[in-house]
Amino acid sequence: MSGFISVRNVYFKYDENENGAEQGFALNGVDLEIKKGEFAAVVGHNGSGKSTLAKHFNSIYLPTTGDVIVDGMNTKDDDSLFDIRKKVGLVLQNPDNQIVAGIVEEDVAFGCENLGVPPKEIRKRVDEALKAVDMYEYRRHSPDKLSGGQKQRIAIAGILAMEPECIVLDEPTAMLDPRGREEVIDAVTKLNKERGMTVILITHYMEEAVLADRVIMIDSGKVFLDGTPREVFSKVELLKQHRLDVPQAAELNYKLRSCGLDLPECVLDENECAEALMKLLGSR
């Protein structure tokens, strides 16, 4: 069975810029299957093509060549546009660019209203969406008085209210402080684990990528590594060659292991790392 979203040999080129300078391909032959219910993180440095890829998932960009199929529908097919955007919701980096209304619950309702959902149903969906991201008590607040993490959760609630099957988040935490980052990532993880929502998280933060089921590494518009966090983050040298970070815990473990210390192949977070080091140091 093919995936929920399948990206087939996609190449993508932006239009010429003002000076008429020829631009290279931003996507350079991407093949990818995202399964239903999967939590996938897409990681790559600036200009690697990860955001360009994200915008292919719900038909904001169309492949120059190749196809993107969402639940059996080709994103190039105009007639499917509405259905595709209903199934795949997109959350962007800057929370301030995504808020349209003066009251939190009105903002969350905006998407549903445009879909023509009956008012009673909207009420229900908005309440549920706000509860899902833990922002229900703020429903009558004005969004401009909220923190970045709270605003970003409102943006996620707005997408949820449209009841998509998949949510794509393009660096949703880049502008947030550590606490805001945790709030957003907790909310997203919960949606995936408790509701089986398909989640595609584009991020720079490796600490967030380790929480996904699958990590897809992109460079020069191509996938160069695709696997579980454990598989991916054990390849420290390869990641560094591609200008990517690894979590400090994984890096420390890798360096010590390279010196011949008896440590696991890969640790993902501080707890695993401390545990492995305890075993090593405590047993002596």
């Binding site: 440095h45 660096e171 720079h204 360096k255 010590l256 305890m278």
Partner: protein, 285 residues
Amino acid sequence: MSVIKVEELKLIYGAGTPFQKTAIDGVSFEIEQGEFLGIIGHTGSGKSTLVQLLNGLLRPTEGKICLNGKDIWEKPKKIREVRFKVGMVFQYPEYQLFEETVYKDIAFGPKNMGLSDEEIDERVRKAASFTGLGDEYLQRSPFDLSGGEKRRAAIAGVVSMDPDVLILDEPTAGLDPLGRDALLSQIKTYHDVRKNTVILVSHSMEDIARITDRILVMNKGRKVMLDTAANVFSRGEELEKIGLRVPQITKIMMLLRQKGIPVDTSVLTVEQGFNEILSLARSSV
């Protein structure tokens, strides 16, 4: 001598309205000439308000800010000079690029200072090279640059005013690891060469730990700590209580310490952690 001295600073937004909010609440500290200070605090802790007070963009409700020993609000009409002396790079400064060429954009500040064309030229080139932009960039449109290059051009636009104090608010937000490391090391080099005072506001504990001399921790408009990086991050539990985190490597050391392994918890970089564990593992053989 202290370049900036802040005494009992207080700022109330919307005083007398129902939205009245005390953003800065009785903060006092001194910053030494040539120091590299980091400011951390979660969203709403008052750190951005504080830096805007430092260069006279906001006027304190109470208290005093002295720059080189002089109260900056002594003559309110002269506040413009303070802004040349205390340069401020805002968050996402690339949104403020506006000129036709990178050169003109960087020259905008010095031009407003009334400098001669030769001086302006010298400053532009120096500032561009400080931020890692070669001469070949100067005649290009700032809008054709990559995100990281735009950020550099925007920072050069402030550096070109040759401020005594350079404030950067989240300069690495949104950059990838390589871009972040390159920019931080350029800021560090600039600080080493120019020997002025640099204030870095950041959410990234790893960045702050790596390059600053001292760290000011803000919470709810108050100063919570002002100390060396090692001392600040050794108080990891207190930091977590106010919504901050210690670098992951420091956290690993804290966990080991809790379990009775005699490691140094003031470790701030992977390199230090690596040496610490390695010497411990080898000595216990």
